[in-house]
């Protein structure tokens, strides 16, 4: 039995209304670790050649909520939700920090594997006694804060009733969907802790398609045994020392980014990426901090990183709206990208999006796309039912509700920006693709590449990424990112709780006993995971299949010159993209069209992908 794992996974068949425990063999765990890597492996093993035919929103899809062997032990424990993505039709290891993760592990489970579709709304409860499918009729339709409130109370009371004498039961951990997920808004998030989301990949809609409102866990056991406990304790302490020393990040989180990323890096989406620069000081970090941050140091289980700041609007028409910072992604996607530069308006929209269970980047991207179409006269007041001007918070509020409920134009936008653009293009006879900022259907995170001053590599960060527009795990050189985000998402730990790699990999080894090194992740495990993800992405379907190399590109907007700011006129160098793309493919052992070569599959133990890849090579 491998160390660092609780040792079993909960299998839930919602169609047959059955749950049982299942184990995963040690070889698979060592080869794929957990979370994102293991998820892709489970999906391929179970779906296999049928991949292109499986509707991600049909009962055949599998929803996975997985931890990794480092979860709960390394600072910043997360859950990784994955499955066949209804957005990219590949897989995304979509992670969020949450107490659900360690509750699951202390209940004795490393993850939950959900298949089938329930006949009515349900939630899954996981405890040491096993898994239970429970009625969620009363929870269906509730917004995030009500779901949390009701489930906290209901489950605490239930567990207290079962064991009344052991002392007070602490609230459980949970992941859940809001109305957006229930209504299968294609890019909806899986929510947790009010304002955290497994956003990328659209797994909220997968939960909705299964009539699954939430997965709730409460454990009372210890975290799993490890291979070298004394080394783990020492490295745990060292990791925290590193995090505690990061003063400015702890103080500001990313909550100062809404102004500074635009003003200083010129890489922030403004009005659907028509610009990436602004200097609106009303949107500065202190304007959020001074008026709205009611808790400046907020964090998740076993984390001293403190990127979160609890915000609440104290007065006015949105009094009582609660969210975190908002963090940079929400400040930009629900602020600058809507032409909104007022902190209260931004907090309101963030709280709204969280409560509706939208993925803020996905929904923010789609709503801003609609606003640009309105600006250009492609969508009219008649199409929308109201005016959608930049900076009009009430209008965006209304549109986000319509998307969550799939009403009117919201029903079209609920398909995500890329699919909505195709539909609106057909409706209007206009090519809307120039205004879609996506890669592989996945709306691009709020970090532009044109100025070349953000954290990403200019040019291919998103273009060749196996998770498309996902900014939390971008492509760099086919090497470094494999021991970075690909490892963190499989571990499953937070990439914000960054410490020197010798600590992270020292812990990985001390926890599992596997001969894990940075090098082994860059040369074997990492390539194995992204090559498998790449293959699944290439297989795609059924509604969209990406064309090799043609779709391994940036959105058209990224080739327009920046119209403003310190790097005005600068844009992405197409020739450089093409050259680096080839280098990237070569590094990973993929052919010149980005299809994994037979010898690569052989080397990585992915031989069973060869028949499907062979078909793509001709």
């Amino acid at each position: 039995m491998p160390r660092g794992y609780a040792g079993k996974y909960l299998e839930v068949d919602l169609t047959k209304e059955k749950t049982n425990d299942t184990a995963i063999d040690e070889r698979t765990l060592e080869d794929y670790f957990g979370g994102r890597g293991l998820g892709a492996k489970i999906l391929w093993d179970r779906i296999g050649d049928r991949w292109a035919k499986v509707d991600p929103l049909g009962p055949e899809n599998i929803l996975l909520a997985l931890t990794g062997p480092m979860t709960g032990i390394y600072p910043g424990g997360r859950i990784c939700v994955t499955g066949k993505s209804p957005v990219s039709n590949g897989t995304v290891g979509s992670t969020a920090s949450t107490e659900f993760a360690h509750e699951l592990r202390t209940a004795g489970y490393d993850g939950v594997i959900v298949t089938g579709k329930a006949s009515g709304p349900v939630y899954i409860l996981v405890t040491e006694e096993g898994g239970e499918i429970r009625d969620a009729g009363h929870l269906w339709g509730t917004i995030g804060e009500d779901t949390l409130k009701m489930l906290n109370k209901e489950v605490s009371e239930e567990l207290t009733g079962r064991k009344p004498n052991v002392g007070l039961w602490k609230e459980p951990g949970m992941i859940y969907v809001g109305p957006a997920g229930e209504n299968m808004v294609r890019n909806a998030g899986v929510m947790t802790k009010l304002c955290h989301a497994c956003g990328y990949g659209g797994y909220g809609s997968v939960m909705g398609s299964k009539n699954l409102k939430a997965i709730v866990a409460k454990g009372r056991g210890p975290l799993p045994d490890v291979w070298a406990p004394e080394a783990v304790k020492l490295l745990w302490k060292k990791a925290h020392e590193e995090l505690i020393a990061r003063d400015s990040f702890r103080r500001q989180g990313t909550g100062y980014g809404g102004w500074s990323t635009g003003a200083t890096l010129s890489s922030e989406p403004v009005r659907n990426w028509q610009e990436e620069w602004h200097d609106e000081r009303t949107f500065g970090g202190p304007m959020f901090e001074n008026r709205f941050w009611v808790k400046k140091y907020w964090t998740d289980f076993n984390c001293t990183c403190n990127c979160m700041k609890l915000s609440c609007i104290p007065s006015g028409k949105w009094a009582g709206d609660i969210t975190d910072n908002p963090d940079y992604e929400l400040q930009s996607y629900l602020g600058t990208n809507f032409g909104i530069f007022d902190p209260a308006d931004n907090i309101h929209l963030s709280a709204l999006v969280d409560n509706l269970g939208h993925h803020a980047i996905g929904a923010g991207n789609a709503a801003a796309f609609a606003a640009e179409l309105y600006q250009r006269g492609i969508l009219t007041e008649e199409d929308l039912g109201f005016k959608l001007e930049w900076g009009d918070t009430e209008a965006f509020d209304r549109l986000l509700w319509m998307m969550a409920r799939r009403e009117g134009i919201g029903d079209v936008l609920a398909e995500g920006t890329y699919r909505a653009a195709k539909k609106i293009g057909e409706m209007k006879g206009v090519d809307c693709m120039p205004y879609v900022v996506h890669v592989k259907g996945i709306e691009v995170g709020a970090h532009g590449t044109r100025s070349d001053h953000d954290f990403l590599a200019h040019d291919i960060s998103y273009a060749v990424n196996v998770q498309g527009g996902d900014h939390t795990s971008v492509a760099s050189d086919g090497f470094r990112e494999l021991s970075g985000a690909v490892f963190s998402d499989s571990g499953v730990i937070c990439s914000f709780a960054r410490t020197p790699q010798n600590i992270i990999f020292g812990l990985a080894k001390a926890i599992t006993g596997y001969p894990i090194t940075i090098d082994s992740w860059r040369r074997v495990t990492g390539p194995r995971i992204v090559t498998l993800q790449k293959a699944l992405l290439l297989l795609g379907g059924p509604d969209v299949t990406w064309t090799p190399i043609e779709d391994d590109d940036n959105p058209p907007r990224f080739y327009e010159p920046l119209p403003s700011g310190p790097w005005k006129g600068r844009t992405t160098d197409r020739e450089l993209v093409e050259r680096k793309r080839l280098t990237y493919f070569e590094t990973l052992g993929w052919d010149e069209r980005g299809i994994p070569k037979a010898e690569t599959l052989q080397r990585l133990g992915l031989e069973d992908l060869e028949p499907s890849m062979k078909g793509l090579r001709v």
């Binding site: 949390l148 007070l168 609230e171 009010l194 210890p222 406990p229 505690i244 808790k295 609890l310 009582g320």
Partner: protein
Amino acid sequence: MTSIWIVRDYESCTGCRRCELACSLHHEGWFWPEASRVRVFMPFPGVEVPHLCAQCDDYPCVEACPTDALTVDENTTAVLVDQEKCIGCSKCIGACPGSVPILNPETGKATICDLCDGDPECVKVCHEARYDALRLVEERMSKNRKLFSRHPIEVARDLAVKFFGEKGEEVI
């Protein structure tokens, strides 16, 4: 007579729960949040309440114990549990105004903060992280201590109003 006591500053608690980890490392030898003598309740995100023994001046838990398993440490004023004598009847939990004690998930015996013999681990990690939500003070034994022995949900309701105003009335 003065003795040590852990002051809790709920607003400063970030919810990192390293107190739970440090406590269980010290007492159980491993990370075990639900065996910890301090537990952070979070009935609503952002509203975090570290819940631990307040050393009431009249020690109702000690009074309630039918087997004399609970005693008060003369130096620290902490409640000590005799593992041999404890029968896991949970009378101490019922007698506690804040329902603080728990039964250890494995042994089923009463589990109460013992102040780590005077140098509490939870306080150390909280201070290391510069939160100081839990701080060690030396002060006279007083009735005030008992005011901190409250049900964590009640404390959370107060905190929610402090953080969120009127909205705070509805979230828990």
